[in-house]
């Protein structure tokens, strides 16, 4: 059976990169694997809303066209409104899938993501990117935001095992800003290691050992609390130029 991912993928392939498509489908969660025929009107709207945000970012000029094409392929065999209650297992999975992504609306809403596996790094990165663009940060700043979140999420997966990344959008007289809070209850960082990290001499087994220093250089404000044996919290702020 043709799933949302198949249908939307057929429209998007060639227009946006495979990596971006995968990130979009990751964001859709269970909805991406729901057969188009079992998609209720509410779920269809959710899918389109997600796509709209992502396409504005990645397809730029052709986003309206692509969105209309996605709308068409999803309408081809969408269940009528009355059929909503007769949805099978697919619909239930879909509903669970949107619970986390449904809270994207007005400014000032916080979003928190659990980070545990490598695929969560990509999800956190894309979320950060779209959030940065949504609140009006420049395209270049959005890439910096995504890179910083990538570094922080990677640190969580590599060294703490699991943790969370929180995004908070702010707006004040100086313009929009995005606050990123990465928290884990991992091993923390020993003072001596910390000295090496900030001195740029630290070398890790798996990465470059320069992730934290890199984040610090990218952001407007940076703050880190780390307690050996207890965990680490990194708070940083990206501010838009106005």
């Amino acid at each position: 059976m043709r799933t949302v991912e198949d249908a939307v993928g057929s429209v998007l392939s060639g227009a946006i990169s495979a990596i971006t498509q995968r990130s979009i489908f990751n964001r859709l969660g269970g909805l991406a694997r729901t057969p188009v025929g079992q998609l209720g009107p509410v779920e269809r709207q959710t899918v389109l809303k997600e796509l709209e945000g992502s396409l504005r970012l990645f397809a730029r000029g052709s986003s309206a066209e692509l969105l209309a094409a996605c709308d068409r392929v999803l309408s081809e065999s969408t269940a009528p409104a009355a059929g909503g209650s007769q949805r099978g297992g697919g619909g239930t999975v879909g509903t669970a899938g949107i619970a986390g992504t449904g809270v994207i609306a007005a400014k000032g809403i916080n979003k928190t993501f659990a980070v545990e596996q490598e695929k969560d790094i990509a999800t956190a990165r894309l979320e950060a990117w779209s959030e940065a663009v949504r609140i009006g940060l420049s395209k270049f700043t959005a890439v910096k935001v995504a890179t910083a979140v990538s570094e922080l999420a990677r640190n969580i997966v590599f060294y703490a095992g699991k943790g969370t990344v929180e995004l908070r959008a702010h707006e004040d007289e100086r313009g929009p800003s995005l606050h990123i809070v990465a928290t884990d209850r991992g091993p923390g960082i020993e003072p001596r290691k910390l000295e090496e990290i900030w001195g740029g001499t630290y070398k890790s087994q798996r990465g470059m050992g320069k992730g934290l220093l890199a984040v610090k250089k990218l952001v407007t404000d940076f703050h880190m609390d780390t307690v050996p044996g207890k965990g680490t919290t990194v708070t940083c702020v990206f501010r838009g130029e106005r």
Binding site: T3, E5, D6, G9, S10, L12, S13, G14, S17, A18, I19, T20, Q21, R22, F25, R33, E118, K119, I121, A122, R125, W129, K139, F140, A142, V143, K144, A146, T147, S150, E151, R154, G200, R206, G207, M208, K210, G211, L213, A214, V215, K217, L218
Partner: protein
């Protein structure tokens, strides 16, 4: 419709296979890899090994990694690219990274992260041209 689905990241077998390994394409005596998927430890190591083996068997002079589809390059990915560059250089070939996006380049500069074990070129054509000159 069917054709384009196969090229997408749909649930068909072909794209799932590409999650586990990256295709290495030979153009004259250069090896080309287009990075379209998330690089992680296992995949990067497999790619590095496969490239070194292919450099040896094909007698390749250059390896070109196309990252034009990669929207974010962080310090971890940079390390992977540098490691591949180093190992290829040990084999006597040169490694070119092509298609780095402007925003990605700006970010890497600000982070103070170096891509110093590889060459870079704007696109595939220019990388091939420069590798040709090495003859």
């Amino acid at each position: 419709m069917k054709r384009s689905t196969a090229a997408s990241t749909g649930s068909d077998g072909r794209s799932r296979a590409s999650d586990q390994s990256l295709a290495i394409i030979q153009i004259r005596n250069c090896l080309l890899v287009s990075i379209q998927t998330e690089l992680h430890d296992r995949l990067a190591l497999d790619l590095q090994e496969a490239l070194m083996e292919r450099v040896r068997t094909a007698g390749a002079r250059g390896v070109i990694l196309d990252v034009s589809a990669v929207e974010v390059i962080d310090s971890y990915i940079t390390r992977i690219l540098n490691d591949i560059g180093k190992s290829v250089r040990f084999m006597g070939a040169e490694c070119y990274i092509v298609g780095i996006r402007p925003a990605v380049a700006m970010t890497l500069i600000e982070m103070g992260v170096e891509l110093d074990s590889v060459h870079t070129a704007l696109n595939l054509d220019l990388a091939l041209e420069r590798l040709e000159l090495l003859q």
